[in-house]
Amino acid sequence: MILTGSEIEKNVLSGRIIISPFSAEQLNPNSYNYRLGDAYIELDDVYPYDLEEPDAIPDKKRFDESGTILHPGKLYLSSTAETIGSEEFVTSLIGKSSMGRLGLFLQLSADLGHQGEIHKWTLELAPCIPIKVYPHMKIGQVTFWKVSGERMHSKGYYKNYDAPTISRGLAT
């Protein structure tokens, strides 16, 4: 079952969902609009990546207050501006239709968050058309889902990171 906006708000107030900072204006009927962070990584297209291996750590850049153009055919990693997560509910991050209509893939078919991971989530941005984005703009929506069964603890690696984080590969 998916939580309604008012359930999201109730659970934020009782501490069972973390959205920080939280603004009730960003609630939707059954999701919450999260904002884009201010740092990003532009992945280089200079060599074949290896799914197994960790990637070299590229420089972080900052989104320009007057807008930064993202280019099609490139992959950018950024993060949510908010710390988001829950020990009790499963978090799922997806795009907003207003951004989808501009041809921006947000998350590359990776929507499912691990229960218990509470941090600023790394976002993958893959534009189909050049698109200008701004730091702290509302860029996606997060949903929360009820879980059946006893909770299992996360062994996730990326939960420890609040900044845009590159892949460490599958080797480890």
Partner: protein, 148 residues
Amino acid sequence: MILSGKKLIEEMQKNKIIITPFKPENVNPNSYDISIGSALNFYESDAALEAGDDSKAVRVNIPDSGIVLKKHKFYFAESFETVISDNYVPMLHNRSGVARKGLFIHITADLLQLHHKGTIKLQLYPEYDIKISAFQKIAQISFWEVYR
């Protein structure tokens, strides 16, 4: 509701979900990691495809040394595992370590059907050239209770 990893294991023990082969270390808090099989399919020609006909695809075995997927080319594959789920709806998701390298593993087709029986179909679309190998843990599936 989405199943927790513990509930997934319990339902496996009751044969309500069957994943073959099954490895306990592939269980996540709310999902199970699945691997790509040893074959890869793609279309060699840029000629228009007939909707509903994937017979023009070429199928190759992924060599032991791996294979480089070319950026902005489309590939499809199947999971190594077979999944039987008569009680829960499976859904397919990417893994963050894969997505962060620019590789889509499905093209907005995440929903599987109740009574799914067989491998999981994967659609691969890389933003950059990327080397993959057979049997890599490339995706994950979650299981959802149904409202009857």
